[in-house]
């Protein structure tokens, strides 16, 4: 079977489906005929199906080592293990854009299946917008990033295989799909927001599903960002997980605006205010994902993660410009239709805290955006090569982040509407004391620098508020209602899943803040060159170099240093950092060895190693509390799933207004 031809045909079909579906959808949105509704749905399903099938064809071609397909010739190799062959689908530019299409296809099908018939007034416009974006991606796959080209003759018998780094660590394989799902998933809430603007109407009945469809990619993006950091930590050997690298920033920017949106959406849903603002956040989030894709895929940044120079950069820039112009026109033309239904009555209220939270998120976005884009502008305008150093981001970003965590405690503690000073004092006293106790406890263990101490305070404070908010409904049911503990817990949980989800996310954020603050402020580093038998110290650890050994695999040869780790005179373990020489690459890549525990990580990285094993240049780190960052991200994901899953899995009638208020 001719994989290349079949693939190309499916991509062209997907363009036809997307373009015609977009036209039918916009027309159907105006005329609201049943036939248009049904045809929009059919074309959307066909579009998604064609893209998913195109990916299946590519995987088949990869597995069959059909080197007549250009992409297979580029990344395939007969010596690569099967699971690596499958994931090499997204190991290079063309494949990753094709995979991107599959993710968009899956999201499209899921959205149409779930929401199209429930929201007949909004669905055609939403689907039409998704398909418009789909048309762009279709052209991208068919044109500048086509993976299904015919390999020029003669067809090779074997290929180079994917980047060996893919095989270096499992996280390298799993983190891109999460990021893609996060990025691509933002298309759905964006399209829903555009539909609201086109209709000139935005009520709680439509905001609720938008929020749910935003939670999903937000969760993926959170996971993708953390997994990316974790990968960097486990593989790159510089002892850290985040460097304000432009590509890291590219994924962080939409995360910030999406987080702001998730909060603004609640305000909009509960109080009917800030509709325009909420929609702008939604549109901005999508624009930032496009900007992020441009930065990652175009090679304008020389970065850890970016692909090499490619022609798709300008295409993305043009697309971004079109999207931004369209959004601006749409907002300008329709915003006056979105009349607020309520107001913020007092600065001492949950509403006001939400507003401040949103301001901080937007400031943070602005800060990171300026720092990320500035070097590009400087190069374009003045032709100088510069980058913005980490201190720029940390100096302002850290205080903003601490303030956000602090608000995360104040907001949920205060009631909606207006709190008197006495009420505010009453709800805040205990959490504040918990915050102080956390900081004091930290000081006893040596956390005395101002910013980490402040972080401990706000995290203890906000973490306690989250826990109390989760415990309160259970306690009320048990103590006043006389319900048994088990029943009280399950009742409270099932009635307030979204609230529980949200507070679990908050708890995760509080823990993560502590992990980030401690690991970045109290890292210990030591560097040294050791002959066999020599030792070096890092923190409380003594490291002894016991020699090297070689390990040979088909794709790589490793020189492994054996390091005996001692603490307080006792041997606590052996760590084996290594230097890998890959078959296809000249320069070796070190793989650090990490000994993790809940309190601290010992992290050893080989800088240089003598081929005969006589000496090793070693860099050693002690990173306190870093493990909690990964645990915290798991807690955040759990919360996200709890908040999003019920609305996605079970069809439910919207709650009456009274019930929604009571649950707030």
């Amino acid at each position: 079977m001719d994989h290349a031809f079949l693939g190309r045909a499916l991509i062209l079909l997907s363009i036809v489906f997307a373009a015609s579906g977009a036209v039918v959808g916009y027309a159907g949105g105006r005329r609201r005929t049943e036939a248009a509704h049904q045809w929009t749905k059919r074309l959307a399903y066909s579009f998604g199906g064609a893209l998913i099938l195109a990916n299946v064809v590519m995987i088949k071609a990869l597995l069959a080592h059909d080197f007549a397909v250009s992409y297979v010739a580029q990344v395939g190799s007969r010596s690569t293990p099967t699971h690596i062959t499958i994931v090499s689908l997204w190991s290079s530019l063309e494949g990753s854009i094709l995979f991107w299409g599959a993710v968009l296809g899956i999201f499209t099908v899921a959205f149409v299946w779930k929401e199209a018939d429930k929201h007949r007034d909004m669905a055609p416009y939403s689907i039409a917008t998704i398909l418009t974006i789909g048309t762009f991606f279709g052209f991208l796959i068919a044109g500048p990033a086509n993976p299904f080209l015919d390999t020029p003759l003669p067809i090779p018998q074997d290929g180079p295989g994917p980047n060996p780094l893919l095989q270096n660590h499992i996280l390298m394989i799993v983190h891109p799909p999460f990021l893609y799902a996060g990025y691509v998933g933002m298309t759905i809430p964006f399209a829903m927001g555009v539909a609201a603007l086109l209709r000139g109407r935005l009520g709680a009945g439509w905001m609720r599903p938008i929020r749910t469809w935003m939670l999903l990619p937000w969760g993926f993006l959170t996971a993708g960002i953390v997994l990316g950091g974790w990968w960097a930590y486990e593989v790159l050997g510089w002892g850290g997980y985040w460097a304000w690298d432009p590509v890291e920033n590219a994924s962080f920017l939409p995360w910030l605006t999406a987080s702001a949106f998730l909060h603004a959406a609640m305000l909009q849903e509960r109080r009917g205010i800030l509709k325009g603002w909420t929609l702008i956040l939604l549109l901005a989030t999508f624009c930032l994902t496009i900007l992020g894709t441009f930065m990652t895929r175009s090679g304008v940044f020389n970065s850890v993660h970016s692909f090499t120079q490619s022609p798709i950069g300008p295409t993305f820039l043009v697309f971004l410009a079109i999207v931004m112009v369209a959004c601006t026109i749409l907002v300008a033309a329709r915003m006056h239709l979105l009349t607020p239904e309520g107001e913020v009555r007092s600065p001492v209220s949950r509403e006001a805290m939400f507003v401040m939270n949103n301001m901080l998120f937007v400031f943070f976005t602005f800060l990171v955006l300026v720092g990320t884009v500035f070097p590009l502008l400087a190069e374009a305008v003045r032709d100088v090569k510069i980058s913005v150093g980490e201190p720029y981001f940390n100096r302002l970003g850290v205080p903003i982040a601490i303030a956000i965590v602090f608000l995360m405690g104040i907001g949920p503690a205060l009631p909606w509407g207006k709190a008197t000073d006495k009420e505010a004092l009453k709800v805040l006293t205990v959490p504040m004391s918990v915050g102080f106790s956390t900081a004091i406890l930290g000081a006893i263990f040596g956390v005395t620098q101002p910013l980490p101490a402040l972080t401990l305070f706000v995290s203890g404070f906000a973490g306690f508020v989250a826990l109390r908010d989760m415990a309160a409904p259970v306690l009320v049911r048990h103590n006043r209602g006389g319900v048994a503990w088990g029943t009280a817990i399950s009742e409270a949980f099932w009635r307030g899943r979204r609230r529980y989800g949200g507070q679990i996310v908050h708890l995760g954020v509080a823990i993560m803040a502590v992990g980030i603050a401690l690991s970045s402020s109290y890292q210990k580093v030591a560097e040294g060159v050791l002959d066999a038998g020599q030792t070096m110290m890092v923190g409380d650890y003594t490291l002894r170099f016991d020699g090297t050994r070689q390990e040979t695999h088909p794709h790589r040869r490793s020189t492994i240093a054996t390091m005996t780790v001692q603490k307080g005179g006792k041997t606590v373990g052996i760590l084996e950092p290594r230097m890998n020489h890959y078959r296809m690459q000249m320069n070796p890549i070190g793989t650090p060895a990490v000994r993790s525990s809940f309190t601290e990580d010992l992290y050893l990285s080989v800088m240089t190693i003598d081929p005969n094993g006589s000496y090793v240049g070693m860099r050693a780190f002690v990173n306190p509390a870093i493990y909690w960052i990964w645990i915290a991200s798991g807690i955040m994901l759990l919360g996200c799933i709890i908040a999003a899953a019920p609305s996605l899995l079970f069809a439910r009638a919207p709650l009456p207004a009274g019930a929604a208020g009571a649950r707030a």
Binding site: L236, G237, L396, G528
Partner: protein, 146 residues
């Protein structure tokens, strides 16, 4: 929202936004990292003293001195016309040797470039495979000139 509340919010946003804009644009100037060749470095004279610089060039043949015991590293970086002496205390990366392309991050202190971080650059005859990451760039974003 009452008028006074509105005014309060508007003023608060303006002050906070203004402060942030000032701080972020002001902060950028102090935290720039310059990508210079040895010639550009010398051209900038005193500006280079204390500034964070990524110096790109080749390790001059015959200039490399590494005292393994004292962890003291000295070499010259050249772009063919200008030579800059570099001093560092770290362990050099595996591929580091004379004649190889390097990127040194650090600053000028007097007539010597003090290195905080040393990275070996791609060798052009070997084409780096496409993929999520390239090797030297693993450690950090680097590559001052393409």
């Amino acid at each position: 929202m009452t008028d006074s509340m509105k005014a309060f919010f508007v003023v608060a946003v303006l002050i906070a936004g203004g402060a942030l804009a000032y701080l972020s644009f002001g902060g950028i100037g102090e935290n720039l990292v310059y990508y210079w060749t040895p010639s550009e470095l010398v051209e900038h004279g005193d500006v280079a003293q204390g500034a964070v610089i990524r110096l790109g060039g080749q390790v001059e043949a015959g200039s490399l001195k590494w005292d393994k015991e004292a962890n003291d590293l000295r070499f010259n970086v050249t772009d063919g016309t200008t030579v800059v002496p570099v001093h560092g205390t770290g362990v050099p990366p595996q591929m580091f040797r004379e004649g190889i392309g390097v990127v040194v991050e650090g600053t000028m202190a007097g007539a010597t470039f003090e290195s905080d971080r040393l990275l070996v650059k791609h060798d052009n005859e070997y084409q780096a495979p496409e993929g999520e990451a390239d090797m030297e760039e693993l450690q950090k974003s680097l590559q001052p000139e393409s």
